[in-house]
């Protein structure tokens, strides 16, 4: 069985959603990791869930990156193991330098919660190997600061290394300004590390793993993780 860990900050609020989705639809072996932990169990994949880690009043994820657990996550990532940051988790990955770039407030200056369409543009990493290239996924976003920013140089790097994983598009797959929910550079919804073992994404795949909630498209991300881990085991 593959072992998942879901990090719990005091202000996490998608921790239980991730736990539930993994437990019921992905793998039985899933545990919570408290933010004060300076030691973690043997795991195959760590999930940094959405929420407001420590209230996020300064900048999203700004304080979370100093928590003991993040040291562990960094070590884990350096070993080449899988780390996925969703929403606030993505923001924390940026703040802690595991992924490049930064988050700005949504250009509307308002929180936005709705289903969006995503185009999977890199399907060669462990998080997307079960998705076909250019497939369109319907996955909700729910954030106030998802306006991804990276300077032009960094952006060239991202492109060169094929680090852009998901982009916002419309239902037909057109990538345009109207389908960008937050103003992010190049409609970026998710990026990965150079090595491909760390993924950050704003949309919430854990919210659509259960048919009763309207979409199953999020499951593809978790199934990809499962598949790639099974292969590598």
């Amino acid at each position: 069985m593959l072992r998942f860990g879901v990090v719990v900050f005091p202000g996490s609020n998608c921790d239980h959603d991730c736990y539930y989705a993994i437990k019921h639809f992905v793998s039985d072996k899933v545990e919570f990791i408290w933010h004060k932990s300076d030691k973690i169990n043997e795991l195959d994949c760590i999930v940094l869930p959405g929420g407001f880690s420590y209230g996020d009043y300064l900048r999203t994820g700004a304080i979370a990156r100093f928590s003991p657990v993040i040291e562990q996550v960094k070590r884990f990532a350096r070993q080449g193991k899988l780390v996925i940051g969703i929403c606030n988790g993505f923001q924390i990955l940026l703040e802690s330098g595991l992924l490049p770039g930064a988050m700005l407030r949504n250009r509307s200056l308002r929180f936005v919660c709705k289903y969006v369409s995503l185009k999977a543009v890199n399907t060669s990493i462990p998080f997307t190997c079960e998705i076909s290239k250019n497939d369109i996924l319907k996955i909700p976003v729910a954030h106030g600061e998802g306006n991804y920013y990276i300077d032009p140089q960094g952006f060239e790097e991202l492109k060169k290394n094929n680090q852009i994983v998901f982009r916002y598009c419309d239902a037909q797959g057109n990538i345009d300004d109207a389908s960008n929910p937050n103003g992010s550079v190049y409609n970026i919804a998710g990026i990965c590390s150079k090595e491909g073992n760390v993924l950050g994404m704003m949309p919430h795949p854990e919210r659509c793993c259960d048919a009763r909630l309207g979409s199953l498209d999020g499951l593809a991300v978790f199934q990809s993780i499962l598949k790639s881990l099974t292969l590598s085991h």
Binding site: Y54, G55, Y57, L58, I63, F66
Partner: protein, 89 residues
Amino acid sequence: MNFVVDIVVTLKPSVLDPQGTTVKEAFHSMGYSKVDDVRMGKYMEVTISAGSKEEAQGKADEMCRKVLVNPVIETYSFDIKEQEKQEVN
């Protein structure tokens, strides 16, 4: 003439400042024990044109009171200069 108005809006001292409090606590837990207090506020740099410094002053004050500040919980102060402010760092 062009004026740059640097406006600082802060919560009144009697009003809870959750942002400041969390940042202070973060400093403490990171070992910066000598931080006694943190108050957070908004900073705005507004460029306006006006005939004189006095006019600019009056305008800025009015803009603060009418748009930027809710006097129930906030207080403000500003600084006017004729040319661009120099950035440290």
